[in-house]
């Protein structure tokens, strides 16, 4: 009988062997044993001994393995399946030109071809498996073209069979490999085709059958060495995890980020279920994924990722004590690694709490940034329904964990909400969780050694206060929260070296300026509420002016930081500083006109400073066409003030002259 396909790979000696043709319907046990031994040796060479190959002959063991595999192939080929069976399946083997990437043919896999457990089916699977290993072997030795051929031959062998528990493992493995191969050639869509095909074959198999499938290595083992069901499942599931993992990468390369995120999530999930993970690597990945969910406003998923990250990072073990760290370098490094990574996870939690508060604020605020009580009521009503949805959502397939960890993860989740906080009580709970993580993170990221990180954490802490202040109804307490922010950031801002930390100082200056501004407004509102007729006492005025000047001072400091060492203001403002600089000018102007003084000369001075700064905004925008777009409203108002202030100034001057 003529042998179809795959002729290109047979060595001449092998075709001579086919001529000889043994007429047995089955292989005798001695020959079979020899085949199995060769296969096992090939595996050992390729996987174990190859690690010891010298650098100048790095593929030595793999070449040896290759020879053995070829012998196995020839031996298998020379034994016929039962008479007539091969012909019956023959029509299914189409003569496709070897180059064409077969895309996976999922639909046919379950319906056409030999039954998986028939002799012909088993034979095809075994030959396919050898082709598979030959393919991987060639890919490993960087002979990609030959590797592809063998893998495609494997695909063709499998085409003859129906997918079943005897061969489905190979169906998945070969597609994974082809996915990797084509992705390496930048043919991402082709890679996608193979991997998606693997995915649907797996899903359909699990739905219609689901039994632990035979692993490819079992094709060439003796009865005693067959794998347990557990082990079979593990290997099969691992292959599918890799499919998910590769698809995540492929979707990322295609720019389909949402899909990529889903597959990252699935990969992480499966790693936990199969207990195939390294705890710290897994935790960091989960924590990073939570950050992605946060950008999408998906706080339930984000919280779940973070809770899992916290629990799984605990599985990495205790942090070595300081004493132990001093004794051994490995212990010292391990201590460092664990502490640092756990602190990073804490920082991800801080961002969770902060973003949740900030997003809640955006929903609740009115057009001047105050809490809109009507909206609040509306959202509270809508929420009752949402809580039920949350319960249902959680039951979905997105949960992480295994039997041991489901509960611990859930208990971490219970400590913080994932729905938007709608009043002060709720906001406070979120705030406290965030603050707790701030403390944790700061333990590792201390100022001495981690300046940038430490300050970022402080900035987050300040932002947590700011977000909480929004919910606080009592203005006095609100003011105290802002004071905490000032106390935290002011010393740092003043201590930092202005040359090395320019950007951070600018951020801090701006934040301090705005915080003082907030406090100033609050003090005024408070004072006005107490007094009946809007007149303020001397103490309040002093306090008000202090806050007002402090705000102006920090805006001015920011502006000064843009000047040359000689103090000359920049002729051109770079894009990153354009809006902040013009806004700072605008605010300095505003603050100066708010300063309270009973002395006309001082009032005049303040008004002149205000006018000067409004003028700057207008003139800069005239001279730089890209500027107006960045500060539309501020420009409009500055233009008005430039027109109106001179009148006020003149009236003041006349009054001053009249009084003299």
């Amino acid at each position: 009988m003529a042998v179809k396909c795959q002729r290109r790979l047979l060595l001449p000696s092998c075709s001579r062997m086919t001529e000889k043709k043994t007429n047995m319907a089955s292989i005798n046990s001695v020959e079979w044993r020899s085949i199995c031994d060769k296969f096992t040796n090939a595996q050992r060479l390729a996987e174990t001994e190859s690690r010891n190959d010298p650098e100048n002959d790095p593929f030595r063991s793999k070449y040896k393995a290759r020879e053995l595999l070829r012998e196995v192939y020839c031996s298998l080929k020379s034994f016929e399946a039962g008479d007539g069976e091969e012909d019956a399946g023959g029509e299914n083997c189409e003569q496709r030109p070897p180059d064409q990437p077969v895309d996976g043919q999922t639909e046919d896999a379950f319906s056409q071809g030999f039954s998986g457990d028939s002799p012909a089916g088993m034979r095809a699977a075994k030959l396919g498996a050898v082709e598979y290993y030959l393919g991987v072997n060639h890919v490993d030795t960087e002979e990609l073209s030959a590797g592809q051929e063998h893998l495609m031959n494997c695909m063709k062998m499998l085409e003859k069979c129906r997918a079943s528990s005897e061969n489905v493992s190979l169906f998945i493995h070969v597609r994974n490999q082809l996915g990797i191969l084509w992705a390496g050639r930048d043919e991402t869509e082709t890679a996608q085709g193979f991997l998606e095909s693997a995915e649907s074959i797996y899903q359909r198999y699990m739905k219609e059958d689901g039994r632990p499938p035979t692993d490819m290595t079992e094709y060439f083992t003796t009865e005693e060495n067959l794998l347990t069901h557990q082990e079979r499942t593990k290997r099969f599931e691992l292959a599918y995890t890799h499919t998910m993992y590769y698809l995540a990468q492929v979707y990322k390369n295609l720019g389909e980020n949402e899909r990529a995120a889903t597959y990252c999530h699935s990969t992480l999930q499966r790693q936990l279920q199969l207990n195939q993970f390294s705890p710290m690597e897994w935790s960091l990945n989960a924590a990073t994924l939570s950050q992605y969910y946060i950008t999408k406003g998906r706080y339930m998923e984000g919280r779940h990722c973070l809770a899992a990250a916290t629990v799984i990072s605990g599985l990495a073990g205790e942090v070595p004590s300081e004493a132990a760290a001093q004794e051994s370098e490995t212990e010292s490094e391990r201590r460092e690694q664990l502490q640092q990574k756990r602190a990073e996870i804490a920082r991800c939690w801080i961002k969770y709490c902060l973003n949740l508060l900030q997003d809640a604020k955006k929903l609740l605020e009115d057009n001047i940034g105050e809490l809109d009580t009507d909206r609040q009521d509306e959202l509270k009503r809508a929420r009752r329904q949402e809580e039920e949805e949350e319960e249902k959502g959680r039951k979905s397939a997105l949960l992480f964990g295994s039997e041991d960890t489901f509960d611990s993860i859930a208990s971490v989740e219970e400590k913080v909400m994932c729905l938007f906080p709608l009043d002060f009580t709720e906001a406070r709970t979120v705030f406290l969780v965030g603050q707790n993580y701030v403390t944790q993170a700061k333990e590792y990221f201390q100022m001495d050694g981690y300046v940038t990180d430490h300050i970022e954490i402080l900035q987050d802490h300040s932002s947590l206060f700011r977000a909480l202040a929004f919910f606080e109804e009592d203005l006095e307490r609100r003011c105290k929260m802002h004071k905490r922010r000032v106390d935290m950031l002011e010393p740092i801002c003043n201590d930092l070296n202005s040359r090395y930390y320019l950007l951070i100082r600018r951020q801090l200056m701006f934040e301090l300026a705005e915080t003082y501004n907030e406090m100033m407004d609050l003090k005024l509102t408070l004072a006005n509420r107490q007094a009946d007729n809007h007149s303020l006492d001397g103490h309040t005025i002093k306090k008000f002016n202090h806050l007002c000047s402090a705000s102006a001072k920090y805006f001015q400091m920011f502006l000064d930081s843009l000047c040359s060492p000689e103090g000359k203001p920049p002729e051109h403002l770079e894009e990153e500083v354009l809006r902040p600089a013009l806004v700072a000018r605008f605010r300095v102007a505003r603050l100066h006109s708010k300063l309270i003084s009973s002395s006309p000369p001082v009032q005049l001075e303040n008004l002149n400073r205000a006018l000067e700064n409004y003028k700057y905004v207008v003139q800069y925008c005239e001279a730089h066409p890209e500027a107006p777009a960045a500060v539309e409203t501020e420009l409009e108002l500055s233009t008005e003030m430039v027109g109106l202030l001179p009148l006020k100034i003149n009236r003041l001057k006349s009054r001053m002259a009249a009084n003299n």
Partner: protein, 326 residues
């Protein structure tokens, strides 16, 4: 004599679409060895072993066939004029390096016909998807051959012979007795490049390799020399330029330590605005750009702006405004 790599520069002429669009030519030949390019930051000079201008016709490399191996690569982005330089235009009004070298070889042979006996042979290959294709074999014929039970193996592989010379094993070489014959072979090879239904010639990974072997026997002494001219038209280089080699290669699962190391990279690249990236080694961590003030703080502006608008209204209406009554 030591092998030497020389780099030449040829300034291609403005093509038709560029001519219609207008624009200016920014490259100019300063002298036989230097070129000047107008950049955004002013003119920059580049040095080469030789510079050919647009006016000069395509000059040939004459330094071949004394038994040396010479290789000419055309490298550059798609559309930069590689094929024009190597092959020329369709009507051969402007023949490229390949046809000119074919002529050149036979001219030299003719001049030395009394002293030497020459034999010229060639192979022509295409490298695509890590595989070498013999262009002297038609694709239709190839597909047929594979269906035959005892067809020979057709793989072309790169081998090195005992003399250390690299050659293409399995590739057919054909002899040519004139420049025209050699060119005809070349045209046949190019035709075969397009026939294959499975190959996408638009794909930027297809390279053309032409090898011309010239064997010369000294009629007086009887010694034999073999020289080879390799002409290579490389695929468009723009893909290789993208962030180093293979950008889209998948990172495989590590069978030893269960690590799926690429997962972190994928996750951290899902969004450019991740609030926190816990990987200190990632490129993203290093290149995060932080704003001086974030957008959330625009709300404070709203309050300020609302207040100021009120003040302006009052000022305009002529009211004497004190911000705060003392």
């Amino acid at each position: 004599e030591e092998e030497k790599i020389r780099v030449f520069c040829r300034i291609r002429p403005v093509n038709r679409s560029e001519a219609t669009q207008g624009g200016s030519v920014v490259v100019a030949k300063l002298d036989d060895y230097s070129v000047t390019v107008e950049t955004q930051r002013g003119p920059r000079e580049f040095q080469f072993d030789k510079v050919f201008s647009t006016e000069a016709s395509q000059e040939l490399m004459q330094s071949v066939i004394d038994g040396y191996n010479v290789c000419i690569f055309a490298y550059g982005q798609t559309g930069s004029g590689k094929t024009f330089t190597m092959v020329g235009d369709k009507d051969q009004k402007n023949p490229g390096i390949m046809p000119r070298s074919f002529n050149g070889i036979f001219d030299i042979m003719r001049e030395n016909g009394s002293k030497f006996d020459f034999k010229v042979s060639a192979y022509m290959l295409e490298l695509y998807n890590d595989r070498l294709q013999d262009l002297f074999v038609s694709q239709a014929g190839e597909a047929h051959a594979q269906t035959q039970p005892h067809g020979p193996t057709r793989r072309v592989e790169i081998k090195r012979n005992r003399k250390g010379v690299v050659f293409a094993q399995g590739a057919e070489t054909k002899e040519a007795s004139s420049a025209q014959e050699l060119y005809a072979l070349f045209q046949q090879a190019c035709a075969n490049r397009h026939i294959s239904a499975t190959m996408n010639v638009e794909s930027s990974r297809s390279h053309l390799i032409v090898g011309i072997m010239v064997e010369s026997r000294n009629l007086t002494i009887g010694s034999v020399n073999t020289g080879k001219l390799s002409l290579v038209d490389l695929a468009g280089s723009e893909r290789a330029a993208k962030t180093g080699a293979k950008d889209h290669q998948l990172k495989e699962a590590n069978s030893i330590n269960k690590s799926l190391s690429a997962l972190g990279d994928v996750i951290s690249a899902l969004s450019a605005e991740l609030p926190h990236v816990p990987y200190r080694n990632s490129k993203l961590y290093a290149t995060r750009v932080k704003a001086i003030t974030n957008n959330a703080q625009r709300n404070v502006d709203s309050k300020e702006i609302a207040q100021l608008k009120e003040v302006i209204m009052k000022l305009k209406s002529g009211q004497a405004v004190e911000e705060v009554d003392v």
